[in-house]
Amino acid sequence: MLAAALAGCETAPVTPAPSEPKAAFSGDPKAALAQAEADVQEAKSKNALWTTATAALKAAQAAAAKGEWDAVMKNAKVASEQARLGIAQSKYPVAKHF
């Protein structure tokens, strides 16, 4: 028990090297990231992009560079959702009230 504990102390924390996706979230993180990039680009082309979508995409891209695939999946989904909401919003009736 003690030996095991000491052995644990000897092991320095290691930042995991980028590896192939093994995400807790269902789906392929690389595909989700590609989809998020496409969704954000589409929202941008329609002048309907939200800053929250941009921020989530950046977070997803940064996580991908570190191989943090759960974070990629999570942020890519947010980016796609927020980009699509922006596009849907651009089709709302105008707010004019008089």
């Binding site: 939200w50 800053t51 909401l85 105008v94 707010a95």
Partner: protein
Amino acid sequence: MKQRVALFAALAALVAGPSVALATPEQDREEFVRYFNKKFPNLKYEDYIFGALALNPDAKTQYDTIMEFPPFLNELDHGKKMWETPFKNGRTYASCFPDGGRNVVGNYPYFDDKLGKVVTFEMAINMCREANGEHPYKHSDMKTMGVLTAYARTLSDGMKVNVKVQGPEAMKAYEDGKKFFYTRRGQLNFACSTCHVDNGGNTLRTELLSPALGHATHWPVFRQGTNLVTLHKRYAGCLEQVRAEPLPEGSTEFNNLEYFHTYMSNGLEIRSSVFRK
């Protein structure tokens, strides 16, 4: 029966749609003025050029005091020097505008039929530069375009805004700007009108929201004394505040927005380069 009702509703919408879109700019402006007159019955029309300050006597008193000796005089002096410094060919900015650039800003933006687009005062400055062999300034560069127009616009102080919308192409640009103004954007789902029409005069967090009437008369402003902010920079800032990605300053969308937005202030005096909190 249901199909007939749906068909009738669709036809009614078709009839109603164009009638809204075909409101003339002057009808839009008159409605705008009526709305704000009803909302602020004690506010004098000419005081709308002061924005939110017109609704807050204490803040207006502070503004008046600050404007007696504005903290941004150095910037205006620098802009004046830029305005008066000849180009390499010996000509000056004044040579590009009627009356040496005095009392011209109230006519901007205008729709240029030959170019097929809205021309803002900043674009006219760049056209002047290019016609005289100089490179254009970036609209977002406050050290060049910002400072230069901060001075140049003061040459039109007192002139009344007199924007014209004539012809179908001009009308289209105006309508684009109008649509932008009333379109909800960003995660907060706000349109320009949400804050500056519906809630003009209300307090959002600690800030009193300015009425859109008179908005376009006093740019650029110096926020906190020396932070130069042009109208397009403010548009970009507003978009960011509602969590929408800002568009580039000088973009067609912002130019058309400025066209509509300025038309709404027709008849009010230009009072450029002023202090704002």
